[in-house]
Symmetry: C2
Subunit: 246 residues, 2 copies
């Protein structure tokens, strides 16, 4: 199969969403990890639920709503300024350490992001991480008013890049996104950051796993949705090798 | 507002899905609780994801897929017969203790179920729990090929009962379902089985909550989706009072 373009998921794939943990922990000492995990889970759920309900709001609204839910459920008192400070972290997420080198090595193909993020959030994120020169396009799902894994979201790739789905390698660490992209007709590489073996070794108690282990189970193991990735790699750094063989 | 019909969610509202815990614990001693919680979470996620992907499969397929995911992630070896035995429990769920009396007291209105379950699953469940004589209709979302909270799912109520959305009181314990029904235009009563106060008192460690507490947080606290129920009640037994005032 030819690969004319590589299109990357942003949150969790190029950018480490767990880097909000530090900001959350500064605001609520000891709660950083549980806030980051519940927040991310609800953020994703709200993208799915609002799309199904036909009540689209952009990703910044959903991200804020999910954070408010999280703080309320953890019985944490907060001021609007604290929510804003944690939210701002979403515009300054850390790149995964191998992201920039991997994308630079792939620069002979078209490179783009397809993300749930609003254009405003994505532009700030890409500017703040110095990725503007590496990417040919940054595609927000916003014009489709439907979040991934809706078909309308993935259809924006061809609209924006002019590349047929079969010639695109879509790269994501999120299992639901891998299945959605594959179902749509893209080639797909799954960045499998937490292997089953690694998960088994980190948990001494599968019957009552720690929250962080539980969320790795819920969000980082391949789903049973009838689709499988074309490629499974452990890190972005392995992509240039995959593409040169492809 | 008039209430001409009451329409109930089935799983988690009239029927206790946690009653599969015993069956799971018999098959995998010590794992009953974690299996039941992860299974339920993934079952819901798969209804949302498959609807968004345009890859509808009926609820029995999704329920089985979610169970297989759960056992795989918990590194539990299983045979097909074990999966089947736990799955069968879904046709024999326990009614919540106050369900039958509450519905019987409401029998002067139309009474129905609207559920994600397939017709086959629902018919077996209702037969096995002796609820046939109490209900006027059992509506599966299956003909819509879209799970709740899709608008197409709630639209089946008017199609089947001939009652306008504004004259229906929809009853659910599931926050996403409450928001979906309200967004669609139904009157909605939320069965709030786990109050924030009850949750706060059961958890001594909010920073590292036990899995059961975590899932109560994720699934039983009202979501931030821009909608609120018309009525909040602690149990089905309170409904006759709500309706007589309504």
């Amino acid at each position: 199969m030819t690969i004319k373009a590589l299109v990357f998921d942003a949150y969790g794939t190029l950018y480490d969403v767990q880097s909000v943990r530090t900001a959350a922990d500064e605001a609520f000492p000891g709660y950083g990890e549980i806030i980051a995990e519940v927040w991310r889970q609800k953020q994703l759920e709200y993208t799915w639920l609002r799309t199904l309900m036909g009540r689209y709001r952009d990703f910044s609204v959903i991200t804020r709503d999910a954070l408010v839910f999280t703080l309320r459920c953890l019985a944490l008192d907060y001021h609007a300024a604290v929510v804003q400070r944690i939210m701002d972290k979403y515009l300054h997420l850390d790149l995964f350490p191998d992201a920039k080198d991997a994308l630079t090595a792939l620069k002979d193909r078209k490179l783009a992001i397809l993300s749930n993020g609003s254009s405003e959030m994505l532009n700030a994120l890409i500017h703040n991480s110095g990725m503007e020169s590496v990417l040919d396009a940054t595609i927000s799902i916003d014009p489709a008013r439907a979040f991934k894994p809706s078909r309308a979201a993935y259809a924006l790739i061809e609209t924006r890049l002019g590349t047929a789905p079969a010639d695109v390698l879509f790269v994501s660490s999120n299992p639901f996104d891998v299945c959605g992209a594959k179902s749509f007709g893209l080639q797909v590489a799954w960045i499998e950051r937490v292997t089953p073996a690694a998960m088994a070794s980190e948990s001494v108690d599968h019957q009552r796993p720690a929250p962080s282990t539980l969320f790795k189970m819920l969000r980082m193991q391949m789903d049973e949705l009838g689709f499988a990735p074309d490629y499974r790699v452990g890190a972005l750094a392995e992509l240039p090798r995959v593409v040169s063989r492809g």
